[in-house]
Symmetry: C3
Subunit: 257 residues, 3 copies
């Protein structure tokens, strides 16, 4: 089908993208649902994360990894699985298994395990030898809050240690890390993360529409957004393009008809 062209819309990057990434969070989709989502929306998806430890119990993993490869989408292992493996002294077993089964990308985080920044960077360097690496900054525990200065320093040092992009923690709920418990945005933390890595190297976890819209209004249609449910990718794309009320600035677009 030929898509319509009668509207003036923002310029949007196309695949393979280095900015404007959409990163999907898969909580355990069936292969049928994944196939259907990809057939519709693969051109909008750059990274597909198998959330936390879901990959470890997913008998359909090879099928899903094969689909992602066909569609030119990075298949990323969840950071929590690698943290748990590290805590059990099995980090290398985990990385070896991930490479064997077909992941090309891993997330390196210290959201739950008692890792020092040095431990994280050691793990990150090990991972970077074989994978595209997304590092994650921010704690999953709402009680453990990093200062803006800590955000800047950790984002910058993760990139120096070899991360390709840095993800800012938000979880599936959008209530920790760069967000307050009510989901509102900690603007100082967002600014601190951008200061540390530059807007093109930061991927914001943004599961909620109001969070996505705020980031798009603030940074433009090609902001990198993460933890998007696969079935909400088309809706996100309309937000990026100003085709939904939350991001269409009709005062500015207005031309006399």
């Amino acid at each position: 089908m030929t898509l319509p062209t009668f509207l003036s819309l923002p310029e949007r990057s196309t695949k393979p993208r280095t900015v404007g990434l959409t990163h999907v969070l898969d909580k355990g989709m069936t292969p049928e649902s994944a196939q259907s989502a990809l057939a519709t929306a693969a051109r909008f998806i750059d990274v597909w994360k198998f959330g936390w430890g879901t990959a470890y119990i997913d008998t359909a993993l090879p099928d899903k990894l094969a689909m992602l490869k066909d569609y030119g989408i990075h298949a990323c292992l969840g950071g929590t699985l690698l943290e748990i493996s590290w805590a059990q002294g099995k980090a290398q077993d985990c990385l070896d298994w991930a490479a064997d089964v077909g992941f090309d990308t891993v997330e390196v985080s210290r959201g739950v395990a008692p890792m020092t920044l040095g431990d994280k960077h050691d793990l990150l360097r090990r991972a970077a030898a074989a994978f595209v690496v997304l590092s994650e900054v921010g704690n999953k525990d709402p009680e453990k809050v990093l200062t803006p200065e800590q955000w800047t320093a950790e984002v910058a040092s993760d990139l120096t240690a070899g991360a390709n992009w840095v993800i800012t923690e938000g979880r599936e709920s959008g209530t920790v890390g760069i967000y307050r418990a009510d989901g509102s945005i900690r603007e100082d933390v967002v600014a601190a993360a951008v200061l540390g890595g530059g807007i093109e190297r930061v991927l914001f976890e943004a599961p909620r529409k109001d969070q996505q819209a705020w980031l798009i209004r603030e940074f433009g249609c090609d902001v990198n957004l993460a933890n998007i449910p696969a079935d909400e990718v088309p809706a996100l794309e309309t937000l990026r393009l100003g085709l939904r009320a939350d991001t269409c600035d009709l005062t500015r677009q207005w031309q006399p008809a």
Copy 2:
């Protein structure tokens, strides 16, 4: 399969309906999911809205429109897309495209664009020449609240201008228009909308179960309800029929066993 008949249930309208409409909000479903939802629930669905600008980027649009035609369901273009088109001086291009691709219904709203009521009625009349028209009343911005008198007047004048039904704004979230920010119902606004159009011509956006249940208890099983996710249509139908705790009045139904 023969459905069971041992219960006494409220009389429910059947297709093609003029009251008791169920209006689905499609945020970008895959054609596979749409097909599956329709095979199960088409007899309960009267209008299928392609929310905001999702239709503009949907390569599966022709497939989905063909399915809806087969199932005797109105295919409705989202109001925000027409508003954006109008604001760019492209309203007629939008209507022409919608007709070409196979929509039979459009929504005419002024929820985001700076339209006067006169502008809206001009657009509505243009649309009514080629489409079934659902007009929408209410603002998407929670700060911009219409008085009940304004609700009554706009609903009535939209119908006079040619709308087939009037939709009351609630969004996907159910937190604006006829609802407060916490989702509770602005009963004065609901009454004002009904005063303006009559209960049979008003379609209430009601994405949340508590909102659906309230409207069904207030207006009966054949109240017109909008912005229902496709996969929640069977659950809504049980609410309409008094087959769920929220709407089954067992005090009244009680007969000695």
Copy 3:
């Protein structure tokens, strides 16, 4: 596919289970979605409840019941449908129909109908003659709160009357019964239910992740959990196994690498 084995995880029961049950709430899934969910996650699912009265209007019911039988999963009729039938003097018609169409399990509750405990036990005994019975304790109306003593007594007497397991009310929303309106856990009620039936005979409705995680941390990976959406079963399994931040206690698991 061979699943990986490099991590130390808690011992988890396998099917056919008598503890560690996962009970799915089906709100009207299409047979295609059900088939896909079962192909992926049937080994994690023990009971599949057709919520409230959805079964009464579901033309795909025989297909879905056949699938569940193939996968060795109990097919359970929703308690509200039996309550409504009872209130209309049609309880036996309802049970006869359920047996004919292929249910092997029914839920017996008094969450909306004006039943005495004696009425409930009569109905429960009638149901137990032909079905596996899950009784439910707790009211769907947040205004009607049972005391902990009433919870203990009703759980215990339901088991004596013939229930195989007792479900504690939480609804699809997780905001009544064993939960407060904000979803937090009424720990005294949970303890009272366990006191009445023993942890192995109580099934906790726990639709929200924070509720599931709390129950798993409190009672271990083989706590019985109910009202899980089918597409969230794999995510729940990772919670049970300590493969998600909310339940992985890395302080305890830690071993020097």
